[in-house]
Structure formats: C-alpha cells, structure tokens
C-alpha cells in the first residue's frame, strides 16, 4: 500500500521534467516493435549521461511506479549505477549524477523481483528464476525504486537488466570497482577553480584554518606529509607550538595506529579540544616520550580532562544493528501496526544511539566552554566516535560550525581528513565492519536542527542531500577509508612509496569533492540548502570571555581528570605507563586512583543537567534535549516511502515572507535611496504562498 514517495530524495517539486509526450518517445517506439537484440543499444541517448569509464551493461524499458506521476522510461544498469531514465529527460551536462533517478550500485540494499503474485528476493544470479514483471530496488539510503517492465516481447531485456543488476551489485563488494573510473570532469573545463570548501590537503589550508580559530599556541606539523606515521592521518595536523616534530613522531608511536593527540578545535574562550587514539600499551616509552606525550595532551593548560569516548556510547555493532532494524521498520511494507509503532521504534534502539551521542556531546561541550582547559577525546581507533563527538561538540558551542560553509569544513576536517573509514563503515568493502557512524552523526545534527530551528544556516534538505551523497560514486570524499587512499586516487601523487611530488599548479584544486553540489543538484535545490529561519543575530561574536593571558602554562598539569559516566574523577597521571606497569595488562584504559576526595565528588553531582543550567554558560552554547519526548524520528529521511513525509513545513510561508520582505525593501530603496534596510534576505522564487496578500 505504501509504495508512494520512495526514490524521491527531495521535497522539491519535480523540476518540470515530465516528459513531453509528443517528442521522441524511444520507449514506446521500441516497445511496439521487437528490437533486434544487440544492435539496438540506445547508446545515443544513454551514453550522453555516462561518466568517463562507465559502461552500460543492460537496459530495459519500464514504468516507474509508486511516485506521482508515474513515469515511463528506461531502466539502465551500468557498472556504476542503476538509473531510471524517464523518456524525454535529458541528463544535464552539468549534473552528471541525478539525485532523483540514480541509484549507485553500492547504495542498493535489497533487490526484489515480482512476477505474478510472488515476490522473491534476489541474492544471487541464480535466484532469478523467471522473467520479472517488476523490480524493486531498495536503497540503503531509504529510497525505493520500483519499475514495472513493459510486456510485449521485451521480456528478454527485462531479464537481462535484472540479471545485470544482480551481478553488478554482487561485484561492488570487490573493492576495485571504482578503480577504472576516472571521475566526473564536469567543471574542469572552466579552468582552475577553488574548491567550495577547503579540502585540507595542503598545509596552507590548515594554516588558514588555524588562524581562523585563533589557536595561537598551535602550529601545523608536516611530520606526516608522506603518510609515514599513519596513512589514516591527514598529511598535516595541529600540534602544540612547543612540541618539536621529532617529539611528535616519537610520541605518536605510542598510540594505537600512530594516532597521537592532535588539536580538533580551539574554543575562542581558550579551551582546546583534542582527539587521539588509545595508548599503545605494548610499547615501552622512554621518560622523554612520556613527557612529550603529556605535554601534548596537556596543551599548555593546567587543567586536563580525558574523555573516554566509547564509554556510554553504543558500540559500532550496536549502531549497525540499530540501523538495520530501523531500515526494516521504515520499509514501506513493514507490517507494524500504527498503534504498535512507538514500541517498534523504541525496539530499533536507533533513537537511543542518537540520544546517547547527544548527551555525551552536550557534556563535552560544557566541559570545553565552562572553563579553560584541555579536553582530550580518546577512542582506541580515533576514527569513529571521536569524530562524531568532536563535531557535535563544535556544533553545540560554536556558531561558525552552524553555518553552511562551517559545517562542510567541519565534516571535511573531522571526518574526511581525519580518516573516518567511510568505505568500510558504509559497507563498501563487504566486511563485517559496517557501521553507519556518519549517518548517526547526521541524525544527531538533524535533532539539533529541529530543536534549534533558527540556529543553523543549513536546512534539513542539506542534511538530506548529504545523507544521500554518501554512496554516490562521483567524488571520492566518502568512497575511501583514509586520506592516503583518497589522495592516491585523486592523482595527487603517483605512488606513496616514492617521493611525494607536490601537485603542479592548480592540479589539487581541480579535485572535485562532495561539496561540489552542482554535480548532483540543481541550483533550485541548492538554494533550499539554506535554512530560512536562520537568525544570525542570535550569535553575537563577543559572547566568549576574553582569552586568558596565561595561556601556555609551562610545567605539569595541576589537575588531571577522567570524565566518565557523567562525572569527573581525579587521575594521578595522564599516561598509563609511568608508575604502575601492572595496569597495562589489564586494559588500555587508566584505572582512576581511589577517589581521595570523595566529598568533593559527592558535591559535584555531575550528570544532572539542571545543574548545568546553574553554571554561567556562554550564551552561544546550545544545550540539546536528549529525553524521550525530545528525540524525534527523522521522517523526511527514513520514511520517504510513506507519503505523509512530505507534510508541510513552515518553509513555504517563511520563504513567502522573505520574498515579500525583499520585494518591499526593493520598492522602498528605489524611492528613497537614503534608506538602507538591513537586507538579509535573498531573492527567491515568488511562487510560494504568501500568508499576507500583497
């Protein structure tokens, strides 16, 4: 019953691409006469949309069902994607990947064929027994493509295309799928261009970003320029000014996979947010190494808080399991009765994952903003939850991160450059390490967005676009596990064992990233990325206390804390090796010393948010709600199969008001040039409902 709506990734009215019926109708023309088997490749109108290296494997005419309007067109399977191409629709040269009609092969979660009354899931090529009448492609991104094949002699083609999809899908798990595909060249012709978001692949980018954050005690380290410390680390990162590169190199060796402490973000109030991997307990650091490590963790502050990121958060397996359950629940034909929906939703535990992340992020942002200190996020791998928490904490405490550009560079820095294993986590490698941590992050951001609708410059549609982009194979941003692999593919350097050759001239800038939205979205859609309710006046820059003068305090930290289970526990040392080697065998975590100050601990009562309200927190800090009634389901994303998702938001009226406002301002400006009203509105299409008659 619920076939509607899927496949539509956007709430935008279809961009007038309803096929003109009179004009060339390749489908029905061919449908009427039996096409000769091979020679009739519709290469003329198919190849035009192909990416370089893309090959059409099979195609068959069909009708897309479930969405209004029903479209007839062609279902095409290439070695990259499955596309439904409506007749008369011309793939625009500028937008080689369509957010509406394309399904990347990696994105295909489940395939089903319908013939007669039976519905079979297609797992292997062998499971296709008869000619399908209809094929259902369930996207991992919660979209659904449902194509009904044409009858009348075209059955072989239907069979072929279905077969091709099954095979191509099976092959995607072989990693080298994209190896042969050189990426979209759109936009390259326009000469050297600046990427829309700094990709943080040059030291200049890092230096500029450091300056922007005002992190004066920090410098860009080039120690990993050849990826010889860790391939999962970016080539550049920030370390304290006073730490030498040789010290960095030595210290990083004592961390899991060489991921030593690096600055994530410098809070304007003076605090520093750091992230690092777990201590590599098998190593035996020398005294100097320990001192170097400590001074890097301390980052010049007298107060250091170590945060065990993993604790109280779902494990990667939990995340994956919850996401699988959520997908099952949100299937259009899931059989959950309406009155059992809430407990079914609870049963997926996805919302629990979301709220535990928000809760922890909220804790961390309070730790960072309430006092000047160094806050170190430590996760064994430092590639999953550290990124999630550090990004969320920044979103909560810095309004720059809530702008469109700021958010994109945040993702680029904390996820892409920091080496989040996107490909593995999103199931691209077929291993059992799949865990959609990044999607969990997007959901958390969406929660913040709906809790604070005026604090973010980007809109829900932007998040949705990002959500849908993670498996689109047009850029490498989300299709590689490490910055090294990404760089290798992007042609920055020929071979990683060889001497690195700096890219000549603008070659780096030529690289496309997911942030080149023009590749997949039309201008009208991109315009919807802006949140009309955004109120930049809410974020005064001066809200942070002046930086402390005694910024870099030499000497050992005076207080070291472990933040655990919503409470701060004093630690007697930063690194686990110093005094008690016996602990090493137990775990990589430090055991807190028996609390000598039980009294003060009892006083702290950490974890009760009502106490935070009592602290003079900077006004720019958002304190998210993470209680049952406050965490919602991202319906626009997960329930795309169900028509109710497209329910009215306030947006049309806001944009209507915006239009009216700018129109009136325009009018007045014409008359009275002296008058300069604060024009914070952009021109928008005026075809929206106005709540007030003009």
């Amino acid at each position: 019953m619920w076939w509607g709506g899927r496949g539509q990734s956007f709430n935008i009215s279809p961009q007038k691409e309803e096929p003109e019926m009179g004009l060339s109708r390749p489908k029905s023309d061919q449908g009427s006469r039996m096409p000769e088997p091979r020679s009739n490749q519709p290469s003329s109108f198919l190849a035009s949309g192909c990416l370089p290296g893309e090959q059409i494997l099979a195609w068959a005419p069909g009708v897309r069902k479930g969405l209004e309007p029903e479209l007839s067109g062609i279902l095409i399977c290439t070695n990259l994607r499955v596309t439904f191409q409506p007749c008369g629709w011309q793939r625009s040269q500028d937008i080689p990947v369509s957010s509406e009609y394309d399904f990347a092969l990696v994105n295909i979660g489940r395939l089903e064929a319908v013939s007669g009354l039976s519905r079979v899931q297609l797992l292997r090529p062998g499971s296709l027994k008869s000619v399908p009448e209809e094929i259902l492609i369930h996207g991992r991104d919660f979209r659904l493509l449902r194509v009904c094949f044409e009858a009348g002699g075209l059955e072989p083609q239907a069979f072929q295309v279905t077969m091709a999809i099954i095979q191509a899908k099976a092959q995607t798990y072989q990693d080298q799928l994209y190896a042969g595909v050189t990426l979209s060249t759109a936009g390259q012709s326009s000469g050297p261009r600046k990427p829309p978001v700094p990709l943080l692949e040059t030291s200049e980018d890092w230096e500029a970003e450091r300056k922007k954050q005002g992190a004066r005690g920090w410098r860009v380290s080039t120690v990993n320029e050849r990826f010889d410390i860790a391939t999962s680390l970016p080539r550049y990162f920030w370390v304290p000014n006073r730490t030498l590169d040789s010290e960095v190199r030595r210290a990083f060796g004592h961390f899991h996979q060489g991921r030593g402490p690096r600055l994530s973000w410098h809070h304007p109030g003076g605090s520093d947010l750091l992230r690092c991997g777990g201590f590599y307990t098998a190593s035996d650091p020398s005294k100097e190494d320990i001192r170097a490590m400590e001074s890097m963790l301390q980052a010049g502050h007298s107060d250091v808080v170590l945060v065990d990121t993993v604790e109280e958060l779902p494990s990667l397996t939990d995340v994956q399991l919850a996401h699988v359950r959520l997908r099952a629940l949100c299937l259009p034909d899931s059989s959950v009765a309406d009155d059992k929906w809430l407990s079914a939703l609870e049963g997926t535990r996805w919302l629990d994952c979301v709220r535990s992340c928000l809760r922890k992020a909220s804790d961390i942002s309070v730790l960072v903003t309430s006092r000047v200190r160094s806050v170190v996020l430590q996760e064994r791998g430092d590639r999953d939850l550290n990124g999630l928490l550090s990004s969320l904490a920044q979103l909560l405490s810095a309004h720059e991160a809530r702008t469109l550009l700021g958010f994109q560079s945040l993702v680029q820095r904390e996820w892409v450059a920091a080496g989040h294993p996107f490909l593995t986590r999103l199931g691209g490698t077929g291993g059992n390490e799949e865990a959609p941590v990044f999607l969990l992050f997007l959901d958390c951001v969406w929660q913040l967005l709906q809790q604070f609708p005026t604090e973010f410059e980007f809109s829900e549609f932007f998040l949705l676009a990002l959500h849908d982009s993670i498996r689109v194979p047009d850029t490498l941003t989300f299709l590689r596990d490490t910055p090294w692999e990404r760089g290798k593919q992007g042609g920055q350097f020929k071979s990683f064992t060889q001497v690195y050759t700096p890219p000549a001239g603008n070659a780096v800038n030529q690289q496309l990233s997911v942030w080149d939205w023009g590749l997949r979205y039309s201008n009208k859609q991109i315009q919807q990325f802006h949140n009309l309710g955004y109120d930049p006046e809410h974020c005064p820059d001066s809200c942070f206390p002046r930086q402390q003068l005694s910024f870099m305090v030499p000497g050992p930290p005076r207080s070291v804390w472990l933040f655990s289970r919503g409470a701060l526990t004093p630690l007697n040392q930063l690194c686990p090796w110093q005094d008690s080697p016996s602990l090493l065998a137990v775990s990589s975590r430090w055991l807190p010393r028996p609390a000598i100050s039980t009294e003060s601990l009892a006083d702290q009562e950490w974890g009760l948010p009502s106490h935070w309200g009592a602290c003079p927190l900077p006004p720019g800090l958002l304190i998210p709600g993470y209680l049952g009634p406050q965490i919602k389901l991202w319906k626009r994303c997960y329930l795309r199969g169900k028509p109710e998702v497209q329910m009215g938001l306030l947006a049309p009226t806001i944009s209507g008001l915006q239009d009216e406002l700018s129109c009136l301002q325009e009018l007045l400006r014409k008359w009275a040039p002296g008058l300069s009203p604060e024009d914070h509105s952009e021109k928008r299409d005026p075809n929206t409902i106005l709540s007030q008659p003009c």
Partner: protein, 721 residues
C-alpha cells in the same frame, strides 16, 4: 535552605492575597516551604499557603522576583502559584518518606503535601516548619474543599456572579455564535446552505419538551414537530451541519431500552415513521453510525488518560529519568495516542461518506452527548474552514458541546460526586484538534497555546461555559426561569471573553501568524467557490459502491431500528472490508495531493504522526524544555519578519499617499529577542522559581580558588564588551 538573600532593601514586603469579588478566605498556614520542583535537592521558598473558596494559593515571601514584567503571558485570574479548587486532581501526603493519597478525615497529618493538578502541575509543600494547628486546619481544609462532593449552587461561579452583579458587564463584543437563540441556528443553517432541507424549531422553548436538549435546534424540514415530544427528544435526528454537497451530519440519541414488548413495538413504529420522513426526498440516503458499539467506550478513555497523565505527573527529575528510558513503550501502553488516532479515523470515515459518497450520516449514541460531540466537531473542523478560525471554533464548541448537552459538570467531576463519571472527553477532542493544528499549521487561525489555555479554562469556576451539564441546567440555576422580576438573572461570564483572563498582548499568542487566510472574494465569486470546492470528489468514485440501489435503504432502516432498540447485531450491512477500502482510497488520494488550507483537511494517522501535545503535557517539566529552541524560536523569527513586512507595507502605503520625500526614517532598533524556551509561553513562568545563578559547589571542586577568581574577572569583562 533559604535562598532569599536581598534582605536589606526589600522591607519585608507582605504579600497580599488577591481575592476575586465574592471570594472568601477559608484557612491559611504560614512558614510553609514550597519546594522548587526541578531537582532532588530540597530547596524552596517560604511562604503562606492559603485556601479560599476559589483556589489554593501559595504566597511566597520573596514574591517580588515573581512579579517581574517579563511574564508577559500572565493569567489575570490565576497566578503561577494558584490552583483553583476544581483543578486539583489528587492530594498526596508524605508520612515518614512514604506517600499516601489523602482523603476524608485524617488521623495523622503529613509533613509534606503534594498536590497533583489537572493541568499537570505538581506542587510540593513542606509543612515541617508550620505550627501544628495550622497544619491541621490547612490540610483538612484543602482536602475538604477539593474532595468533598458539593452542591451545584455552592460553586464559586454563583458567588462570583452575585458579587459582580452590579458591575456593568462588559459586552465582550464577541463574534462567537452562542446558539441560544433561534436566530443563531438560522444563521448557521444559512451559512452552510442547510436551510433547504432543515429547519430550526422552537418546540422546546422553556424546556417544555425535554431538559436535555437546548431550547432551539434544527431538524429535517419534513419532521412533524409533534414527533419531537414523543420520546422527550430521543429518537429524533438532530442536525449538526450540512456540507457543500448538501449532505448533512445528524445525530440522534437512542431510545431507552424497554423490556416490555408492547412499548418496544411502539418505539419501532415510531422510528419507522421517522425514517420514512427522513428518507423521503430530498434527503436520499442516510447512513447510520452507531458510536456506542464498535467504537470507543468512555471507560477506555478514562483508563487511558489516567495512565497517560502519570507520565507527566512526576514529583522530581529522578522520576522523570526513570520513565525516560522506556518512554516510547510506556507512552504506547497508555494507548492514549491510539485513542486519538481512532477518533480521528472515525471522523475521516464519516467525512468520506459526506464528501465522497454523498450520503447523509446519522450519529447514534445513548445520549448523543459524548462521542457524538467529538466526532461531529472533528468532522466539521476537517471539512469546514470556518471552524478553523477562532470564532468559528468557539461557535462550534458552543453548538456541539454546550448546546449539544455534553455533561461538563459530570465529565470534569466538578462537584466531586462520582469519580466514575469523570472522563476527559473534551480534552480528548482538544488533543485531536491539536494533532490537526500540529500537522497543518497554516490551516488554523488559532495556535496550540490557545488550545492549551482553553483546556486550562475547564477548571476555572468563573465562567459558566464548562460548569453545567446542559443549557437547561444553566438557565434553571441562573434564575432566568423564575419569573419574579425583582431578582434579575445572574450574569455569568463565558470563557470566550478572553479579556477576563488575558491582556490583549498575551492574547496575540492565540493568533497563528502562519494562518493562510481565506482569499477575500466578492460575493458572487464566493458563491461559486462554495460549490467548486477544490478537493470535492477528487477521487475516482467507484460507482458500484455508492449506488443507492444496493438494498441499502431497506436493510439500513431495519438495521437502524434494531440498533435503536438495543438489540445490536454484529454484522454491518456494509461489509467492513468495503468500508476499509473506501476509507483507504479516500485517505490516500487526499494525502497524495497538495493541501488546500481552505478546503478539506485530513490528519495523518500513521504511527509516527500522532504525537504528544508537548506544550500542554510537558510544560511544567523543566527537563523537557529546550532553551532557545523548538518551533517557538522559528515562530518568533517569523513574527519579527511579519512585523517588518507590516512596517514596510505601511511605509509603502504612506509613500503612495504623500508623494513627498520620505523622511529619513530610522530603521527599527534591532529587536533584542530573548531566547525563549521551547515550551513558551508556559515554561517562562516556571523559570522564575529556578535556582541561583552561581556555580554550584561541584564546579568549585574542579579548580582552586585562584582559578575561580580569574573566572569571575572574565565575567566582569564580559559585561564591558
């Protein structure tokens, strides 16, 4: 314990109790400690607890803080710490850390008093520091005045009316149609074009025929007036509303069950007669919807709500956290949301009959005054855009609930006579409407705040609206019936006179700035509009299903009679599968099209779409609010823009009139809009009683004193910036 610190300048301001006209102080107790609800630590404010014949009030010693002007949404009658006697739900006492419900005569007096209110506030009063005899007096006083059953005449309503008798009753200049005159009914008939087939009658003037029915009502034109008196108005189809296609929504109260065969024979032939008259053209098909079978029972509603409200009546944060883990399943197990869904679904089914199948619908219920009211009002809200304006909605409540004889007195248990009768039917209706408001904000002229305030007004015994079981009861007790001229009838206020409760500024929060108004057309055009409803019959009507020839007529009549006589048959004439299909088709087809906010409006019923009315239920729980967030933030941004648009429009207007150069106007000062809570406007009140703004000791433990000093410096600097 006491956080009152500014003792020097404030010269022990003795807080005075504001009494309404006619209100009397009954008992009081001093040095009562009112706990701050939001945390487990036992902090609070000292003050006086008083009980009058209207309310229980707490007068804090440092009330000055509470009187700050920021409380722009202040109820003029009821303060933040006032509880009207009718609003008290349950009183608990704490004896040696154990909670016990208090009622009747007490042997032992508690050290702590917990009051659960019907608007879901929870008050904690500590009586440990109060004199013993004062404790006895106040506790037994409160228990007596809130829980003992009382006579209707003893309602505060009457003392208030008597005391304000001589004041010039400000005519509210209300556009709400009260439906207490023949004219009002005629007007409504005219408005809905129902006057061709239905007539307003005044048979019941002076309640001669029936005390349950209003003095005036509307019946089919062909119905002989003498029939009405036959069974005291039972078994008579009463008109609720006509839709644009001419189909009408009717309601009928069932005939009393009779054992005697002879009597039931008479009943049967009577109903036969009625049926013949209403089946004669122009009425055509009539479909009967029996709400007392196959639908909700009052018992279910009661049970569900009492479970549901426990989610919100929490004593402290800890309790809230405990339920939080299982929030969704606990919520689901109360099945309150499911009951809402079933009501909305029933309303859609009936809408489908009226709109798509073009049949009249007759709602049937024992007294036609509970579920009938919900369903018929919901149908009208969905189908008639007039009912989505504020005055239209108020008129609807007047028509269907007040004149429809919904027993507010019993259902709200205002007189504390029977707990069994207490069923939140009206609240259920408001919650259903809230779902619609929440799903389709631009379609409603009023906001959720309006609905919340309306639900609160149920317990304010100043207004007559919700304090009678029927219009007859009201008139009888107002002295209108007694003809002695010297005692002029009492003048009771209606709740629709919002200025009694709120200042005009606060009332602006009732208006939805997003409301998409009806395009103003000239008359001729509008006439055309009526019949060219945008969504009218938009679906591919399966002709076979609505064919009137399907034996529907006869069997249905029979069915009706059987039902009316109380011999319910389980098998429906329309097989339920058919019904389901029609419903589904109608529902899906409506939702697949863009919404016309001035046309038919259907709610979404899916699991994820029915939500908790956060503003009403969660407003007193500090943990549940998001500072600076929620829809409120968006709304205030919107209001700002609206104001800006208006200002510019005025300028343009001015410009048009005077071609002279515009004086270089100073752009408006940037509005310093404070960050509001997501539960605004209610949570704002709550925040005033919150804790000190200094860091707690826990934070001191994190750094040494030197650090703290530095920190304070920072905040001085902050001020300078």
């Amino acid at each position: 314990m006491e956080i009152h610190t500014n003792d020097k300048e404030v010269t022990e301001k003795e807080v005075t109790l504001h009494l309404l006209p006619g209100e009397q102080l009954l008992c009081e107790a001093s040095t009562v400690l009112k706990y701050v609800q939001e945390d487990t630590c036992q902090r609070g404010i000292y003050g006086k607890l008083v009980c009058t014949d209207f309310k229980i009030a707490f007068l804090g010693d440092d009330d000055s803080a509470l009187e700050s002007d920021e409380t722009q949404f202040k109820n003029k009658l009821i303060g933040e710490n006032d509880i009207t006697l009718h609003c008290v739900d349950q009183i608990l006492g704490v004896f040696d850390e154990k909670k016990k419900t208090l009622f009747g005569q007490l042997k032992k007096y508690p050290e702590k008093l917990i009051i659960h209110c019907k608007d879901l506030r929870v008050f904690h009063f500590c009586l440990r520091y109060t004199k013993e005899e004062e404790v006895k007096r106040i506790v037994s006083g409160i228990i007596h005045h809130t829980q003992a059953s009382k006579l209707l005449k003893r309602l505060f309503l009457f003392s208030y009316a008597a005391a304000t008798q001589n004041r010039t009753a400000s005519d509210p200049q209300n556009h709400t149609v009260m439906f207490d005159t023949l004219k009002d009914w005629c007007w409504e008939l005219e408005r809905t074009k129902g006057c061709l087939k239905y007539k307003a009658v005044s048979v019941n003037q002076g309640y001669k025929v029936c005390e349950r029915l209003p003095e005036y009502f509307v019946v089919p034109i062909a119905l002989p007036e003498e029939d009405i008196s036959h069974f005291q108005g039972h078994g008579i189809p009463l008109w609720c509303w006509s839709c644009h296609s001419g189909c009408a929504l009717l309601k009928m109260s069932a005939l009393p069950k009779e054992q005697d065969d002879g009597v039931s024979q008479i009943q049967k032939s009577f109903l036969d007669g009625i049926n013949k008259t209403i089946h004669r053209p122009p009425y055509e098909i009539l479909k009967t919807e029996d709400l007392s079978s196959n639908f909700l029972s009052l018992q279910e509603i009661q049970t569900a709500y009492s479970k549901f409200k426990q989610l919100f009546l929490i004593d402290n944060s800890t309790e809230f956290w405990d339920t939080d883990i299982k929030w969704f399943s606990v919520l689901e197990s109360s099945s309150w949301l499911d009951i809402i869904r079933r009501c909305l679904k029933k309303a859609i089914e009936i809408t489908e009959c009226l709109e798509a199948q073009n049949v009249n619908v007759l709602l049937l219920e024992e007294h036609a005054s509970d579920l009938c009211c919900i369903v018929s009002s919901l149908v009208q809200v969905m189908m008639d855009p007039h009912c989505r304006t504020r005055f239209g909605f108020q008129s609807l409540i007047q028509k269907e609930w007040i004149m429809g004889g919904h027993c507010f007195l019993d259902r709200c248990n205002h007189l504390r006579q029977s707990d069994k009768e207490e069923v939140p039917v009206f609240l259920l209706f408001l919650d259903c409407v809230w779902q619609l408001v929440h799903q389709h904000p631009p379609a409603f002229e009023f906001t959720e705040t309006y609905l919340t305030v309306l639900s609160d007004s149920l317990y304010i015994p100043i207004f007559s609206t919700f304090f009678f079981n029927s219009p007859h009861q009201k008139d009888a007790n107002m002295g209108r019936e007694s003809q002695d001229a010297q005692s002029s009838p009492l003048n009771l206020l209606t709740v629709w006179d919002w200025s009694v409760q709120f200042e005009p500024k606060a009332q602006t929060l009732f208006r939805n700035p997003l409301y998409v108004e009806k395009p103003k057309l000239d008359k001729s055009q509008r006439k055309g509009m009526r019949f060219k409803h945008q969504r009218q019959l938009s679906l591919p009507l399966t002709q076979s299903k609505s064919s009137p020839k399907r034996g529907f007529f006869r069997e249905e009549t029979d069915h009706l009679i059987k039902n009316l006589l109380g011999k319910r048959i389980s098998k429906l004439i329309n097989s339920s599968e058919d019904l389901q299909d029609n419903f589904r088709e109608f529902y899906d087809s409506w939702h697949s099209k863009p919404t016309d906010y001035q046309g038919l409006l259907l709610p979404h019923l899916e699991g994820p779409e029915i939500k908790v009315w956060a503003q009403r239920y969660l407003r007193w729980i500090p943990e549940a609010q998001i500072l600076g967030g929620g829809q409120v933030a968006l709304m205030s941004k919107l209001l700002e823009m609206l104001e800006e648009v208006q200002r510019l429009q005025e300028q343009v207007e001015e410009r048009h009139h005077s071609q002279a150069a515009l004086p270089a106007e100073v752009p408006p000062a940037p509005r310093h809009s404070a960050r509001l809570s997501s539960l605004f406007p209610f949570a704002l009140l709550q925040r005033h009683s919150s804790k000190p703004v200094l860091p707690t000791s826990g934070w001191k433990a994190l750094g040494d004193d030197e650090d703290l000093a530095k920190r304070e410096d920072e905040f001085v600097d902050l001020g300078d910036l």
